[in-house]
Structure formats: structure tokens, C-alpha cells
């Protein structure tokens, strides 16, 4: 492990976080809230510590895959620990574990909360929660790649691999720094468009800013107890729904649009399947909900909002979905697991992994029928390497193991099975709401300290896509030879 370099990256993370906190300071000053000083001083402290660390560049810029996995995982843990400090010291959230849970949930763009009354929070605290979604959505390490020249030397792609979502991370440009900058430019651009559209719908600047940040990172923290349901407007809710869907799309698609390669977009199997899943489940759930709502239009609206919210792993709500019929509940749980597209800000298992798995299944059965068959798994007419396919299969195995084990661990609370199981799915897929106690109108406040730490683990594991987080528990990774 190149510990010096990992330490250097952590320094940058603290520096960036300290600077980000100053945005909350500004919000606090604007709304004349006394709690601004927590952001100001903690932020300055982080800037000082981070600044001291990054003054000296490490001599050895080599970044192996394991180094970048460790650097990314530790970055996220440090980010969440430091991010919890203002919430904790201001006594907004008196317990540190709760504050940590809330921050992890923010940065991993899960959107699960332990707060029961969100509206009582200071505006600067609310802003910090929403902004953590924004920073965590595209990833803080990707941000570092965009701003720091030569970070990670010639192996900087390894850092990208550790933080970006999806089974195979590539870059479509020779310079990774330009690529990372372009991703962030698209990210900020889309967020700005949503912000403007929300303002046009009559939302105030503060709410629009927070909602746009939370949508962009596919997070789900809202500034109101009733989430987006607070805004009783078809227009606003539909804008949010459409943007949740858009942020769940592979950002490579937007690069294709910017570079005018429109034809290639229609060849993307992942995009097609994603849109088919959105359309199919929206209609299925809408039909299923017909008896719950007066008109089909209303059912369709409810269904579209929740499908995009869950599939993109955002977790915004406009209604309590607990009373929904069993079929809709089952479908929503499946959507929770599928998640968004690779290379998006969304969580979940990822549509592209599903595609690869199904093609692997087809290959397996073809081999039974034709034992000497040679079959190449292809996505978008390109070969999926054996290594990628294997890695996806193992990913599924680890994923299932984690779900099973953590469900058992959560069960010690004595809550009902729906609560236990759906809370695990909602955290590992970075969605937020599950059903029963953790339903769209519920929260995570009643779980034990231990359970909350398990959830934190799940959220980080889900956001970093299992391998980076689990690697730090593998002793060989830390050995020098």
C-alpha cells in the first residue's frame, strides 16, 4: 500500500469538505441562524488539517488498484466522520452515531434519516444534508481527479474504478482529468436545469436548491417531513420524477449527446432496458393502484413518481406507500434491487449487471443443450471479457450474502420481518425508504446503535459497490509484499 499517497488524498478530501461547509456557513448567515458558526469553525479546522497534509506532495505517485480501493474507502469514511461533526456539536443530532448515520446516508446518497421532525432543523443544517448528496452523487474522488493534476500518476483510472458505478469503468477520453471534469460539468449542468425548472414551478430558492441537489445525487433528503409530497403541484412532482430518471442514466449517454453521436445512444442496451423497466413498472403499478386512486391519471402520476424515485435509488416520496397492494410492494422491492444504470449517480445492483447476468444465464443453458458451444457474451455488440462477467457473478454472491447476514443482524431489534428485510435492501441499494417502519413516511430513528452501524456499513458498501469497502478487511491487501 502506498500509505503516504492515501494520506495525501485524505488530506484533499478534508480540504474539500471544509470548503463545502463554508457554503452552509453562508446559508446560515443569510438566514441569521446562530448555528452557522459550527460550519465556519469545523470547516476552517478541516481546511487547516487538510491543508497541512497536502502541502507536501508524495514522491511516489503510483496508485495500484488496491491502493485506490483503500484510498476511496477511507476517503468516504473520513468524509462521513468529519461531516457528522457540525450536526453533532450543534446538538441538532445529539448522538454521534445518529449524526454519523445521517451523514453516511447523505454522502452515499441513500436518503435514510433518523430525524423525526426535519422541518425543525436550521436551514444551514438542511443545506448540509442536501449538499452531502450532491458531493457524494458523482463522488468526491472523481472531483479530486477533476481538480488535481496528475493525481494517482499514470494509474489514476484505478481511482475512477473504485468510486464510479457499474461493472466495467472506462473513459472515453485520453486524459482522465478532462473526462472527470466533463462528468462534473454535465452533473452541475443538469442540476442547474432542474433548479431553474423548479423555480419556474413556484418553489422558493432554498427548497429548489436543496431538492435539485438531492435529486442530482439520487439521494432523497428533503427539507420537509412529507418529502416532495409537501409541494402539492403536478408540475413540480413531475419535474422531480423526470430528473430522478435522468440522473439514473449512464452519464456516458450525455457525453454522446454532447459529442453529437446520437445514433450510438439508441444502440445502448442498458438505456433501453432502463427505460423499458421504468415504463413497464409504471404502468403495472398504476393499474394495480386503480382501486386506491380516483382516476387513472392520478394512479399513473403516483406510480411514475415512485418508480423513478426507487429505481434511481433516490427515495423521494409524495405519499405513504405502506398501504399499497402486495403486487406493487413486491415490484417496488425488485426495483430497489435493480437500481439505476452503470455510470450514473444512482445505486442498486445496476441495470448493466443484470444484462450481463442474463446473458451469462443464456450462455449456461446453451452449454447444456450444446456442450461444445462457444458463446461470447456481448453488450452493445462489444465483448464482455470473462473477467468482467466473473466479477459480476461474484458481485451478486457477495451482495446476496450481505443482504442475508445483515438482515439477521438487524433482526435483533425485534421488529417485523418487512422492516428488517426492506431496511437492509433500502440501505445496501442506497435507496432510503423500504416498507413498514422504514416506509416512505417512516424513518430509522428506532433502531439500536448497533443496527445503525450495520446500516452505515451497508450504505458505504452499496455506494462503493462492495469490493473497495470489503478489501480493507482482507489482510493480504495491507501486506507490503
Amino acid at each position: 500500500m502506498n500509505k503516504r499517497l492515501i494520506f495525501y488524498i485524505l488530506g484533499w478530501v478534508l480540504l474539500i469538505e471544509g470548503l463545502s461547509m463554508q457554503l452552509s456557513t453562508i446559508i446560515g448567515l443569510i438566514y441569521r441562524e446562530s448555528s452557522y458558526k459550527f460550519f465556519l469553525f469545523i470547516g476552517l479546522a478541516l481546511i487547516a488539517v487538510g491543508g497541512l497534509i497536502v502541502i507536501k506532495k508524495p514522491k511516489d505517485p503510483t496508485m495500484l488498484l488496491k491502493d485506490s480501493f483503500a484510498a476511496t474507502t477511507l476517503s468516504w469514511i473520513v468524509l462521513s466522520l468529519a461531516g457528522a461533526l457540525p450536526l453533532f456539536f450543534s446538538k441538532t443530532i445529539p448522538s454521534f452515531v445518529d449524526a454519523f448515520f445521517e451523514t453516511v446516508s447523505g454522502f452515499t446518497t441513500t436518503g435514510a434519516t433518523i430525524l423525526t421532525d426535519i422541518e425543525s432543523l436550521d436551514k444551514c443544517m438542511l443545506f448540509w444534508r442536501s449538499f452531502s448528496h450532491f458531493l457524494g452523487g458523482m463522488g468526491v474522488v472523481v472531483f479530486l481527479l477533476a481538480i488535481i493534476p496528475k493525481l494517482g500518476g499514470n494509474n489514476s483510472i484505478n481511482l475512477m474504478k473504485a468510486e464510479s458505478t457499474g461493472p466495467s469503468v472506462g473513459k472515453s477520453m485520453p486524459k482522465l482529468r478532462t473526462y472527470a471534469a466533463l462528468l462534473y460539468a454535465i452533473y452541475i449542468g443538469l442540476t442547474a436545469i432542474e433548479f431553474v425548472l423548479l423555480l419556474l414551478g413556484g418553489m422558493n430558492v432554498f427548497d429548489a436548491l436543496n431538492t435539485a441537489f438531492a435529486t442530482a445525487g439520487t439521494g432523497g433528503f428533503s427539507t420537509y417531513n412529507s418529502s416532495i409530497g409537501h409541494f402539492d403541484s403536478y408540475y413540480l412532482q413531475t419535474v422531480v420524477a423526470v430528473f430522478m430518471m435522468l440522473f439514473g442514466v449512464n452519464f456516458y449517454i450525455y457525453i454522446l449527446i454532447l459529442t453529437k453521436k446520437i445514433k450510438q445512444i439508441f444502440k445502448s442496451e442498458e438505456l433501453w432496458l432502463y427505460l423499458i423497466i421504468v415504463a413497464g413498472s409504471t404502468i403495472a403499478i398504476a393499474v394495480n393502484l386503480l382501486s386506491y386512486y380516483d382516476t387513472f391519471k392520478e394512479a399513473l402520476h403516483q406510480s411514475f413518481f415512485y418508480v423513478t424515485s426507487i429505481l434511481s435509488s433516490t427515495g423521494f416520496a409524495i405519499t405513504d406507500t405502506n398501504p399499497w397492494p402486495a403486487f406493487s410492494v413486491a415490484l417496488i422491492l425488485i426495483l430497489t434491487c435493480i437500481g439505476a444504470c452503470a455510470g450514473s449517480t444512482g445505486g442498486g445492483f445496476k441495470v448493466s449487471r443484470i444484462i450481463i447476468l442474463f446473458k451469462e444465464i443464456k450462455k449456461e443453458f446453451l452449454l447444456i443443450v450444446h456442450p461444445r458451444n462457444v458463446y461470447t457474451v456481448k453488450v452493445d455488440k462489444k465483448k464482455v471479457s470473462h473477467e468482467t462477467a466473473r466479477s459480476v457473478s461474484v458481485y451478486l454472491t457477495i451482495y446476496v450474502f450481505l443482504v442475508v447476514i445483515t438482515t439477521v443482524l438487524i433482526s435483533f431489534n425485534g421488529f417485523d420481518f418487512t422492516t428488517n428485510f426492506t431496511s437492509v435492501l433500502a440501505t445496501i441499494n442506497n435507496t432510503g425508504p423500504g416498507f413498514s417502519m422504514v416506509g416512505s413516511a417512516g424513518n430509522y430513528s428506532q433502531f439500536s446503535v448497533f443496527s445503525k452501524l450495520v446500516f452505515c456499513f451497508n450504505m458505504l458498501a452499496g455506494r462503493l459497490e462492495l469490493y473497495p469497502l470489503l478489501l480493507i478487511f482482507i489482510p493480504q491487501a495491507w501486506k507490503k509484499n
Binding site: 446453451l366 450444446h370 461444445r372 458451444n373 462457444v374 458463446y375 461470447t376 456481448k378
Partner: protein, 451 residues
């Protein structure tokens, strides 16, 4: 004609042998002295030892006064480069062999820049021929024009054909739009029909059609075969091209090859074909892969012996299927006649025939400006493709106002990849590709179609 052949491999030798029977003077260039000796011992040709892509060697072969250079070395890049050098050195026309599927796909883009008259891909030609045998067994021949947008198809008018007894002008009701009858062969005669010409049973008609519409039309005439599944034994390049064509036509393709690397290559490049790694001479494997139930079996393995044996086996277990056998080298051809096999083909002959046809047409119209040429009716008529590069006497005037020679027809015009079946009101514009069908010789430019 003076012809230079660069490369004395199999194809080079076959062409040299074929051309030598006609009245051409041939020079073969190769670096392999032995291969050259073997050629000059049996053929009345000149040989030069050296690299055909160098100016000094080409000058030695009198490239500047030469009519045609054919580059058929084993390397595609070298062939293209040789043609480029030769063209700069003053040769009139060049033919290059390009076999790599990826290059073949891109050739239309660069053919003009390379000033290449013709690119041949022997395996692709074989595959096209095989596709025709499988898809349209009753079609006599099929060639493509205008970068593959247009097919020239020759069919026989059968006894109960819808076309028999119809006037050409009326036949467009039966044939689809955009289809144009170019020539009618009756006995030894070849006619360029006008609208009043009556088609009779037993005639061979050649017509141009947009490639996409051709299959549809043949179907409506009832001369398309309904084969659903094809088994290819051997995964050669020909097999690859053939599989591509067949899959596109919605036919199931299964390929058996005993080279694992090759199997992986095929499975990566062919989307829906079933690739089986195994020995195509293994009876159990063939049976388990359903050789008894497929509609056609084509053997494309390395040796003629393997092809023969597996074809015989295929015919035995599946007598109903069409079996096509590749025979490339065996010289004892007389024994084949007694074997219970349907069809045999020789890939070298197909490529050789193609080049020969081109050279024959070229011989007839030296100094002409045509892009491509095809023979119809054993050379009694030709179809010439012209590119209109500048305005002339024929451009911009409705066809009905042009005084066009007898025995000559404008078969079709392609404008920006779209085909126009020319009517009297249409006119030829700059940038068009025009296909002219004629029995006349010595047509050197498009202006010559006028009286």
C-alpha cells in the same frame, strides 16, 4: 493488353493461367524465385523477382505503359500500397485483393482516393455465390452495383411464371417499383427490350433492383427458397461472410470448427450464430448438433478430402438437405460425377471468373471512364456504371429529350444512395451514378450514349 500481376500465390497463379489463354502479355512480380520459376516453366509469361511495391521493380515491368495491375500478395496493406504506387507510376487500372473483413467494409470510403478500379475479396465473392445458391437457387446470377445498393439479377422465365407472355411495359405491375428489365436472352440472341417487347417462357431476363427490394420481389415471383437452418462445417472466412448474409436473411446458422481460437473470434463477430467447437468429422457431434434436421449443409474445411467425406456423410444421414461442397485443389475431378452430391464449388474459380469478367469488359472498352462493368449474357451485352463528375451534354435534360442510341438503355440512376428507376421525365445530374446497359462496344463516356 499488358497486365502486371504482383504476387504469385494461388490466386495470382490462377489468374495468370487463365489470362494466358487469351491474347494478353503478362508479367508476374514476386519475391519468391521458386514460385516464379514454376510459373514461367509452364506458362508463356514474363517474371520479375523483387518487391512489387517498389518503383524500380515496377518500372522494370514497364508499369507506365501497362493497362492493368493486379495485386494479390498475401497482405492486404501491401496490395493497396502497390496499387497506389502503380497508379502514380501511370498504370491505367488497378485491382487489389483485400480480404480482411474490416477493410472490406471501409473500402467504399477510400476507393476513390486510392484510385482503385476494383477490390476483390475472394472469400466474400464465394460467400455471395453460396448465399445465392441457398436463398435463390433458381436465380442464374446476381451481381451488385453502386456500392452494393443495386443488384443485377438474372432469372429464367419458367413455364408457369407470371412474367411469361407479358409485355415489358406491363411487367412492372408484377415486378415492384424501381425494377428495370435490362436484357432478355432468347436462344443465342440478346435483346435490349423496349416497352413493347413480349417476354416468353424460357427467356433469361436480367434486371436491376435495389438490393433491399430484390429479395421481396423474388419472393413475389415465387423463386425464393424457404430454407430455415444451415449448418456450416468449418469456420473459414467464407463461412464468416456467409453466416453474416444468412443471419441477415433470418436463417439459423450453426458453425462447427475445430480451432478454439477461431471459434471465439467467430462468436465475437457473429451475433446470433451458434458456434460449436469440435471436429466436424466426428459423427456423434454432427448427430447431436442435428445434422439430420437442417435444411442445408455446406462444407468449408481446410482440405478437399475432409469436405468430400463429410458431405457424403451429410447426404447419407440427411438426403433431403442441400449439400454444397467446397473443392479447391483436387485435380481428379472425374470421380466426382458419380458421387451422390448436389453442388460443388471451387473458390478460386469464382474469384478468377470475377476478375476475368472484369478484364474482358475492360478489354472491350479501353480508355472508357466507367466505374464498374458487368457482363450480361456471356458478353453479348454489358452493364456499365458511370459516375457523373461534371456537366455535359447528357446532364440536366429530361431523358425523353435525349437522342439515345439504339440497343442501349439507362437502367438506373442512383442519387445519394437512393435508386431512381428512370422515366422519361427524369434527368441525369452531377453526382449521380448511372448504369447503362448496352450491346454496343467502345462506349467510352456517358456522352457516347447519344446518337
Amino acid at each position: 493488353m499488358d497486365i502486371i500481376i504482383v504476387g504469385s500465390g494461388r490466386v495470382g497463379r490462377t489468374i495468370a493461367e487463365h489470362l494466358n489463354t487469351e491474347a494478353h502479355s503478362i508479367t508476374v512480380i514476386d519475391e519468391d524465385v521458386r514460385a516464379l520459376e514454376k510459373l514461367s516453366d509452364t506458362q508463356n509469361i514474363m517474371t520479375i523477382e523483387g518487391n512489387g511495391a517498389t518503383l524500380s521493380v515496377l518500372t522494370e515491368a514497364n508499369v507506365s505503359t501497362c493497362d492493368l495491375l493486379i495485386a494479390v500478395t498475401p497482405t492486404d496493406e501491401l496490395n493497396l500500397y502497390t496499387c497506389l504506387i502503380a497508379k502514380s507510376a501511370g498504370v491505367k487500372r488497378t485491382i487489389a485483393r483485400v480480404r480482411n473483413p474490416l477493410y472490406t467494409k471501409d473500402l467504399p470510403f477510400v476507393k476513390d482516393d486510392l484510385k482503385l478500379s476494383l477490390a476483390i475479396n475472394p472469400e466474400l465473392l464465394c460467400a455471395k455465390e453460396l448465399t445465392r445458391m441457398l436463398k435463390f437457387p433458381d436465380v442464374e446470377s446476381m451481381t451488385s452495383f453502386a456500392r452494393g445498393h443495386i443488384d443485377l439479377i438474372k432469372i429464367k422465365v419458367e413455364k408457369n411464371s407470371l412474367l411469361a407472355g407479358k409485355k415489358v411495359a406491363k411487367s412492372s405491375n408484377i415486378l415492384k417499383d424501381g425494377i428495370h428489365i435490362c436484357t432478355v436472352e432468347r436462344g443465342d440472341e440478346c435483346y435490349i427490350p423496349n416497352g413493347e417487347f413480349v417476354i416468353e417462357e424460357g427467356d433469361f431476363i436480367s434486371f436491376t433492383a435495389p438490393s433491399k427490394a430484390a429479395a421481396k420481389m423474388l419472393k413475389s415471383l415465387g423463386i425464393i427458397s424457404r430454407r430455415r437452418s444451415v449448418l456450416l462445417l468449418g469456420g473459414s472466412r467464407t463461412a464468416f461472410y456467409l453466416a453474416q448474409d444468412l443471419l441477415e436473411a433470418g436463417i439459423d446458422v450453426k458453425i462447427i470448427d475445430n480451432d478454439k481460437e477461431r471459434c471465439f473470434e467467430l462468436s465475437e463477430t457473429l451475433d446470433d450464430a451458434l458456434i460449436i467447437y469440435g471436429d466436424a468429422m466426428d459423427q456423434d457431434l454432427l448427430l447431436s448438433e442435428g445434422i439430420e434436421h437442417v435444411d442445408a449443409i455446406i462444407t468449408l474445411m481446410n482440405t478437399d478430402e475432409e469436405n468430400l467425406v463429410s458431405s457424403l456423410y451429410a447426404k447419407k444421414v440427411n438426403p433431403k438437405a442441400k449439400v454444397i461442397t467446397e473443392i479447391g485443389n483436387l485435380k481428379i475431378s472425374s470421380i466426382f460425377e458419380n458421387l451422390p452430391l448436389d453442388t460443388m464449388f471451387n473458390p478460386k474459380h469464382i474469384a478468377g471468373k470475377y476478375i476475368m469478367r472484369y478484364i474482358k469488359a475492360m478489354h472491350n472498352s479501353l480508355n472508357s471512364e466507367f466505374e464498374t462493368v458487368h457482363f450480361i449474357a456471356d458478353g453479348k451485352a454489358v452493364a456499365l456504371e458511370f459516375r457523373v463528375r461534371e456537366s455535359s451534354r447528357v446532364t440536366g435534360t429530361p431523358l425523353s429529350n435525349l437522342d439515345i442510341k439504339d440497343d442501349l438503355q439507362i437502367a438506373c440512376i442512383t442519387r445519394q444512395g437512393r435508386m431512381i428507376a428512370p422515366k422519361g421525365s427524369d434527368s441525369i445530374e452531377i453526382g449521380d451514378n448511372v448504369i447503362v446497359v448496352t450491346k454496343l462496344q467502345g462506349l467510352s463516356s456517358l456522352d457516347d450514349i447519344l446518337r
